[in-house]
Symmetry: C2
Subunit: 190 residues, 2 copies
DNA sequence: CTTCGCTATATAAATCTTGACATAGTGGTT
DNA sequence: AACCACTATGTCAAGATTTATATAGCGAAG
């Protein structure tokens, strides 16, 4: 159950449900995803449990909103999660599940098309991550190793995101090459 | 909804529920995870829907089992999933969510301990992946680019798994170094 | 003054997932 | 004969997640 703890973590500074959704899109997309329809009921539940506290607030840009902040109890719950050790062995990568079964497509062309589409997506995502990084670096002279705690650890996740996405783009290229070369070889034998 | 399709894919060859669980542990762990309590009801549901067909079979090593195989309808459903494009933007990596909030621990020592534990896990996982790879290569002269379709695409997912896990181990080391160096710097300033 | 895009919150139904529990056969060891 | 590890199948309740739907305020552009 990680979403609860992610929300608890984000609410060390005040956020509305809508704000949280934007954090997921912007900063957390490398490792988690949540819909508004999941966030709003969760906020209500966490408030009932006394893990967060909400208050009404004005928006500079839209209708009034309700912002939440984690309580002392919420912070304890967050630390408990961090202390129980890394959550591993439950990673989910939908596109890899698909690659595993690409042989079930009718021919290799479709597999190549799949890999190409994946590469396009990953290249776009890489560009976004690189933009975030250079913007961050340009605006904050402390980047990356003199950042305050609250930004240093997020920067670590960005660093791994970049590594993984670069590796994935490379792998898409290699895979496309390998699929094509293999097909040529198989055609010759046939 | 990927589990349904993963099971459909695995059932191009006959498997029992228990067999499937072992596939998840052995081959699919890089990108998906499922419990037996999820697998057994799903098999019943897929059989009702006519996507798979089951029959009783003997086990060489335990009690009788029920093995399933995908039907023509099931194969169509699988192909539909593969044709709708790569599933992206929903990746889940629990340990990265935790890293994002490591600042909420009481001190950097605990963060270092977390990263060290993560590195130990990832190193172990890397060793297992490398063992799978070298065993596969040693037993099949066709490895990796002359493998039949049904093994070639799984091999691609192994290749990316290796890349990503290696990147993660490196990143753990770098992160530990960075956390420690940063602490020394902050202590000097204080 | 209407429409559009964005901000903002929420509910309902359906489905998916986890964790705990229950049962039982098989083969080997003590 | 008792025990253990492993094989094998399942149920149940609680919790998590997705998809669809509904409502409404705000500011800018036409």
């Amino acid at each position: 159950m990680s979403l609860k703890h992610i929300v608890l973590g984000l609410l060390s500074t005040p956020h509305s449900g809508y704000d949280l959704k934007k954090e997921f899109e912007y900063s957390l997309k490398n490792f988690w995803h949540a819909e508004l329809s999941q966030i709003y009921p969760l906020l209500q539940k966490l408030e009932e449990e006394g893990l967060i506290a909400g208050r009404e607030a004005a928006s500079e840009i839209g209708p009034r909103k309700r912002v939440y902040k984690s309580t002392a109890k919420g912070k304890r719950e967050l630390r408990a999660w961090l202390t129980e050790g890394p959550t591993v062995g439950t990673e989910r990568v939908g596109y890899l599940a698909q690659v595993y079964f690409l042989a079930d497509l009718d021919n290799d062309d479709e597999a190549v098309r799949f890999m190409q589409e994946l590469k396009d997506y990953m290249s776009g995502w890489l560009a976004k991550l690189e933009a975030i990084e250079s913007e961050w670096g340009a605006n904050d002279p402390r980047y990356p190793d003199e950042l305050p705690d609250g930004e240093f650890y997020p920067q670590l996740t960005l660093a791994l995101g970049l590594k993984k996405v670069r590796a994935t783009v490379e792998w898409c290229d290699e895979s496309i090459r390998r699929i094509k070369a293999r097909r040529r070889r198989l055609e010759k034998t046939a």
